[in-house]
Subunit: 317 residues, 6 copies
C-alpha cells in the first residue's frame, strides 16, 4: 500500500483533525467496520483528588497525531517489522460516550453502550479515559462474552468495595470487575505506596483471586517470571492507569505516585501478552492534560497505545 | 487594639497556616462564635466544561494571606476608614463541607448542613466554591429565614430548569433559587455572550421576576441606576461567579467569557448594597486554580471578599 | 428546528471531535456545500519573534466547542436574536491546508488552493491561522473576484515591502494585499507602538490608499466615525490579527503589544460592518497556543468568530 | 543614519545577545560613554510575599529585544516622530550590580556604587530591579546632586519606617527617599487596596510632603490635573513598581493588586513629565519572571522603558 | 482504632485545612504534646540562583493531604505493615518559624527557637524548608544534646566556609554543622556535577571527617555497603535537599542537577537507617513550588517524609 | 589562577549577561581567539511538529550561568580533576548566525558562514540549535577539512532523502551528512519508536555505512562495546539532539519520544570518545524553551556541554 506522502499531501502531524492516529471517523455506531474501534470516555466525576481527566481523550488523540506521518504503517527497526499497516487491520475512531454531569451512573451506562456497539461489530474496543471509573462501564459491556483475564497497570489497587455509599468511583473499578462472572482472574501490577485501600482491601483482592505485584516486585521477578504468572492462551483485557507509570514520564495525572514503571517495562509486558494470548479490549485512563504542561503524558499514552495496538494486530491470528 | 507586629512575630503573609484571612479555625460546628463564618465547598461535579473548582477554597484561603499582614484591620486611604478591625466583628474559618465523589446530591446536602450551622450560630455565611452548583446547598439552608433578594454576578444566566435529568448542576442554581419562597427576587448582572441557556430560559427568568443586565447595560446605566433597580433596605444574598469578571483578571475559571466586569465595578456595586441593606450571606464560586497559573484569580477573589466583608461589617447596624 | 439535547445526547462541550463549532467535516474539497467554510492554515514560518501559531487552528477549534452546547443557534438576549440557526446558513469545516516545512511559497500556494475551492463552492471562507503571512494565500485566491475593501485589525502595520529578500513573511501581507487590483482599499485599525515598519512603510501605505488608525485614535473618534470612513455597501474582507487585541485578553500570540483593543470594541466594529456591507471572507491569525496557558486567547478567537459569523449570516441578504 | 538591515544582517529580535535594547555592553564602569546607562539590580531579599524579581533584569533585557529590529530609531506614527535615533543619544548596558546573598546592606551598597558610576559619567541611570528595595541604593547614589522630585508609580505606599528592625526591605524605600535632603518632594500614584502600611504610614507620608493619589483619583482628576500637581521645570526621578499596573497586564510580579493602571495611562503621564522637566533617573522594579508565564509583564516593562527613554531623549534640551 | 470514614465524614484529600498529613495544629509552642512535631521554615534568602523555597512548607503540607484519606495508618502491602497508626506515635504541626525579610541571622534564630521548643517537648523535629540554610538553625538547636551523625542527601556539598563574608547561606550549612561539637560525623550522599565548592572545600570536608559519595558511587557500592559506612546504633539527623533527587522527579527546586537519586534509592537508605539507629531529627529543604508546575516535587517530599516518619515510628524502641 | 571571587565581585550565577558559561563575547568574527567558540543557530523552520527551538540558544546560555560561579574551572571530585581552567583552553561566545525568516536555505548558509569563521580561526565550533536542520550548515562548513566520524545522539534517524521537495528540514540532516565525502562514517545512537523514517530510510542509512543502535541495544551492549564500534583515534563530530534523552529529563523539545537515554549514559559515552580521539565540533539541537517550563532541559544541555567541553579540553593533546 502506498504512503500518504505519495498522494497529494505531505500531511505533517500538526495538520488535520485530531482523531486517534488520524484514523477515519465513524459517527454511526451501528455501522462500525473496523478491527479496532477507539472510544473516548471523558468522565472524571469519580476522582478523589484532582479532576481533569475528562480532557484525556482529546489530549491523547491530539498527541497521537505526532506519530501519524502518513506512512503506511510504522516501521520498527529493532523488530524489523512494520506495524499498523492497513492489511493488518483497520482502526476507526467512533468519538465519545455522552457524559451527563452530576450523573455518574448514567454516564457509565453511556460508556457501556458505546463499548457494546463496538463488541457487536466484532471490533476490539480501545477506550480513552476519563478517570478509572470508566473501566466499570467497559467491563459491564462484556456481559455475556467469553471469560477473560484482566491485566491491570496502576499505582493503586482500586479495590474499595464501598465507602459512604460510593461504589462506582475511581477507587472501585477492580473490585467491581472482580465480581463479574465473565472476569476469570486479575493481575494487578505496579501497585505501590500509601494506599487508598486499607489492609482489608488487599485481603479481599487476594481472596477474590487477584495476583498483586509492586513495581519493585515486578523488577525483582523479571519480565518472564511475571508473564508466567498470567494464564497462557487466554483472552486478556488491559486496563492501564497512566499513574502506573512513574511521575517523571507521566506527571499529567490526578494522583501521581513516585516509584512507578518506565516506558519499556510496560510496553514489553503488554507485547509479551499480545503474543501469549488474545487481547480483547483496552482502556487507558487518568490522563489529565491540565497537569501535563508539555504534553508528555498524552504522548506516552499515545505512543504506548499505538505500539500496543500495532503488536496486537501483528500477533493475532 | 494592637497590631500583630507589636507582639513577638512579624508574621509576613507567606508564613503560617492558610485559613481565610488568617482567621482562627473553628472545627466544632456546634460552637461557632463569629460575626462571619467562612466555609469551603470543594465540589466541582456540576461543571459542563473544565473542572478544578474543587481546589478553589484552598487557593482563595492561600491568596487571602497576602492581605494578612498582622495589622489590626485594613486602612483604606481613599475612604479614610480602617476596615476589618476586631471591634467591628469576628471572622472564623470552619473548614470545608464533606464532599462525596460521584454523589452530587449528598455533597450539596453536606454544604447545606454547614451553612445551616453557621446560620444557627447567628453568623453571616461566606461560602467558597466549588462550582456554582454549591449555591443550591447555600440557598436551601436559608429555608425558614426571612425572605431576601439574590444579587447574582455572572457571565451566565444559570437558569436551566432541567436537561437530561440534570437539575442540580452548575447551569441550574439560579433557577433553583428562584423557585424558593424565601427568595424574594433576583438581580442578575454581567450576563453576556453565547449562552448555555436558550431563549426560553431568559423568558422563564423574567417571568419569575429576575432583572437581567449585561455588562454593557450596567455600564450604560451607571452604578446609581443599577442600584436603584434593587429593593432598598432589603436583605441581600450575594452569589458571585468569578467568571462575571473579565478573563483578563479572572482567567482561573472553568468557563471564561470575554467582555466581563473589572474589579472596581463589582466592588463599588457590592459596597453600595452593603450600605443600602443587610447582607445575609455570600458565596463566591468557580475559582479553578489549575487555570490560574500566577494566582491572580484567587487573589481577586480574596481581595474582593476581604474588601466586601470589611464594608459589610463596617456599614451594618 | 430542534435542539440537539432533544435527541439522544446531552453533548456537553468537552465531548466529541474538535471541529470548528462542532460543524460537520467536509474532507472532499470538490463537494463543499456550505454558506461558510472553515479552513485551517497551520503555518508559522513567517514569524519574526515567537513561532507556535501553527497550532492555532487546533486551539481555536477546541475552544469553539465551549460555545457548542447543541442548541440550535445562539440566543443573544441583548439583541433578542438567535444567531447561528440552521436556517440562516450552514457551516462546514474542511480541515487544513497542507503545509510543507521549509517551503513558505508552496505552503502559501496550498492555502490559496483551499480558499479557491471554498470560493468556487460559493461559500464564505473563514481561515484560521497560522501567522499573518497566511493572509497572502487568502487574498491571492480572490483573483478574478469583484473588488473588495480589506479591514485590518492588528497592532502592526505589516506593510514591509522587502527586507533581505523576504516578501512573504508575517510583516508583509498588507503590502502584498495593497498591490492587488482586486483590493479596492484598506482600513488598518489598532496599529500602535514601536513598529516593525519604519517611516517609509507608513508613507507607502498612505500613498497606496490605506487609512491607518491607532487604538487611541479609534477610541477618540468613536465607533460611528470610524465606520463612516469605510466605504458603505462594499464587499469587506476581515483580516484579524489577534494581537490587535490587548495582551490582557490575548496573551497567546507571538508579538503582543500593550495598549490594544478590548473585546466589544472589535465585535461592535465588525458587527456594524456586517450590517453596512457584504462580508466575503475572514481570516483570524497569530493565535499561538504555547503562550496561551489557560486558553483565553483561543477562546477569544472562537467567541469573536462565532459571534461575527452569526451576525454576518443574520444580516446578509 | 542607516538602518541595521542595510548592513549584512537582518538581525531579527530573537537573534543575538540580550542586552537592553540590544545596546552595546560597557563592562568598564570607569569608561561609561553614554546618554543613558542601564544597570541591572537582581536583588529580591527585600520581598514580603513572593520572591523572583532577581531575574527581572534578564527578563526585561530579553523582552526589549522584541522591539529591537535593527532600524535606526523607532518611528511613532501617532506622533510622527522617530524616537531613539543615534543622534538623540547613546544607550549602553553596563551589566548588573553584584548581589551578595544573605546581605541586603552590602547588596544595596553595590547598587549605589553602580549608579554613582553612571552619574559620574554624566549619564542618566536606568535601573532594572529587583524588588523595590533597590530604589534605596539608587536614591542614595544621588547624594550631593541637585534636589529632585520623586514620581512614584505603585500599588503600595512603601512608606513603612521600621518593623522588627527592617528598614531596607521593599516596604520601606519611599520612606527612606523622603528622608533625604536631596529629595525635594514625592508624588505617589496608583496607591490602592488593603495596604502594607497602616494609617500612621499615610499620615507620615503626607506630613513629609507626599502627594498620594489612587488609580481612581488619578482617573477622576484627569492627566492634566495630575500633572499640574507636580512641580514644573523640576528634575524628576521615576520609580516605577510594575505592580502599579493592573494584574491583567502585569501578572508577573510578587504582590499584584487588582484595579491598577493601564498602559497608556502611565505612558502619557511620564511623557508629559518628560516635556515638563528634566528626567534624571529611572528605576523599574518588581518584575518577577516566574509569575510571567508568557512574558507579557517583561514586555510591558521593556515597551514602557523604551518609549519613555525615547521621549526623555527627544524632549530634553 | 477506627478509620476516619467510620465517623461522619468521608474526608477526601482535597477537603479540609492543609496541615502536614492533616495532623492537628499546635499553636502553643510551650504545650507540644507529640512524638513528631512538624515546623515550617519558609526562608529563602540564602539562595544563590532561584528563590521560591519560602513557599515550600505550604506546598509540602498541601501535597501531604493527598496521602491523608482518613484511614488510621497507611497499610504497606510490600511490608505487610500498617504504618502511621495512632498507637505508634502522635504527629502535630506547630506552624512556621517567623521569618524577617532582609535579616537572615534573625530568621535563622527564629527557626532555632522553634526546634528548641520541639526538643524541649521531647518530640522529633521535622522541619520543612525553605532553602538549605535553614539547616543551620536546626543544627544549632541541638546544642547540649548528645552527639549525632548527620546523613546528608544532596547534589551539592554545601561546604563553603566563607565567600564575601557569607557564612550562613545555602552553600554553607554542612560546613557549619561539621564545626559543631555535638555533630559526631557526616555522610554526604548524592553529591555530583560542577560544584559550587572548589577543590579546597572537598579537602576541608574530608579533613573534618565527612564521607562523600556521588550517586554513581552509591549505586556501585550498593545499599548495604553504603549503610555499613555509617556508624551503627547511632543517633541520626537527616538533612534532605530535594535536589539530591533527579530533576526528572524533583524539578521544583532552585538548583537542579541531572543524574540524581530516584525515589526508592533514598527511601530504602533512610529506612535502613531507621532500623540501624535512632532518628532524632529531619529537615527536608529546597522545594520551590514555582518550579513545580504539576506538584510532583512537593508530592515527592510529602510521600518520602510520610513513609520515613512511618518507618521511624515503627522501628524505634 | 585566581578564582573570580578573589576579585571584587561575588558574581552569583543570576547576575551578569547571559553568554555561554559567562565566556567573553567575540563580536568580530574575523578576530576569533579561542580554543572553543560557541555559535547560536536560532532556526526552527525545519520542524515537522512543534517549533520553538529558535529560542534554544538563549535558554542554553542562560542555563549555563547556573554553572558559572566565578571559580577558575570546575572541580569534579569523582575524577579528582579541575576541568575548564583557563590554562586548558579559552572559550568565547561569538553570538548568533543571522536567520532570515521564510528562507531556510539562506539561513543555513549563514550558519555555515559562522562555523567556517570558527574553523578558520582554529577553534572548535560548538553550535547551539535551533532544530536539527542547523546541522546541515555545520557539516557543510567542514568542506575541505580532513574526514571525520559523526556520532549522532537522537531518538530519530533523520535520514529522509526527500519528501515533497524537502531536503533540508530537521528530518534530513544525517542523510545530508552521509553524502559528504569528508564524513567518513556515522554512528547513530538512541534511535527508537515509531519513526519519521520508513524502512527504506533505514536500509539506505545502513547501505551508506551508518551503525544504528537503539537505547535498549546500547544498554544491552554496554558502554565499552558501543565505543569499540566507533573508529579509534579518529576525528569525531558530535551532533546531539536533545530528544535522544528521555522526556523525563528533556521535556523541552519539539518531538519527545519515551524510552530515551539518561544523563550519565550520554556523558560517559562522549567522555570515552574525548579520550579515544579528537573532537572537532559539536552541535546540540532541538532545545525548545516553550516546552521547558522549569528550565530543566536547558540545564541538561548546559550541564552536558560544559562537562563535555571540559573533558575535550582536558584530554586533547
Amino acid at each position: 500500500m502506498a504512503n500518504a506522502y505519495d498522494r497529494g499531501r505531505l500531511d505533517l502531524p500538526f495538520t488535520g483533525f485530531c482523531t486517534f492516529a488520524k484514523a477515519p471517523i465513524c459517527p454511526d455506531w451501528d455501522a462500525i467496520d473496523a478491527t479496532v474501534a477507539v472510544l473516548g470516555a471523558p468522565l472524571d466525576m469519580g476522582t478523589q483528588w484532582r479532576a481533569g481527566a475528562r480532557f484525556g481523550p482529546r489530549a491523547i488523540r491530539e498527541a497521537s497525531t505526532l506519530f501519524s506521518f502518513g506512512h503506511d504503517g510504522a516501521y520498527d527497526f529493532e523488530d524489523d517489522v512494520t506495524y499498523l499497516t492497513a492489511d493488518q487491520g483497520r482502526i476507526v475512531d467512533i468519538g465519545d460516550a455522552d457524559i451527563v454531569h452530576t450523573d455518574q451512573i448514567r454516564s457509565l451506562a453511556n460508556i457501556e453502550f458505546g463499548v457494546r456497539k463496538i463488541l457487536a461489530a466484532g471490533a476490539i474496543p480501545v477506550v480513552l479515559g476519563g478517570d478509572h471509573s470508566v473501566n466499570i462501564g467497559c467491563i459491564n459491556a462484556f456481559e455475556g462474552e467469553a471469560p477473560f483475564h484482566v491485566v491491570h497497570i496502576d499505582a493503586h489497587l482500586d479495590f474499595v468495595d464501598e465507602r459512604h455509599g460510593v461504589r462506582f468511583g475511581h477507587g472501585n473499578p477492580l473490585r467491581r470487575a472482580a465480581e463479574k462472572p465473565w472476569v476469570s482472574g486479575l493481575t494487578q501490577l505496579g501497585i505501590r505506596n500509601v494506599s487508598s485501600t486499607n489492609r482489608q482491601g488487599y485481603e479481599d483482592a487476594r481472596a477474590m483471586g487477584s495476583d498483586i505485584l509492586s513495581v519493585r516486585q515486578v523488577r525483582k521477578l523479571g519480565l518472564d517470571a511475571v508473564i508466567a504468572r498470567i494464564p497462557a492462551g487466554a483472552r486478556y483485557y488491559f486496563t492501564i492507569d497512566i499513574d502506573g507509570f512513574d511521575p517523571s514520564i507521566a506527571p499529567g495525572t490526578g494522583t501521581p505516585s513516585h516509584g512507578g514503571f518506565l516506558y519499556y517495562e510496560v510496553l514489553e509486558l503488554l507485547e509479551a501478552l499480545a503474543k501469549r494470548g488474545q487481547v480483547i479490549g483496552i482502556d487507558l485512563v487518568e490522563v489529565a492534560p491540565d497537569y501535563d504542561h508539555t504534553g508528555g503524558t498524552a504522548i506516552l499514552a499515545a505512543q504506548l497505545l499505538m505500539n500496543v495496538i500495532g503488536r496486537v494486530l501483528h500477533h493475532r491470528r
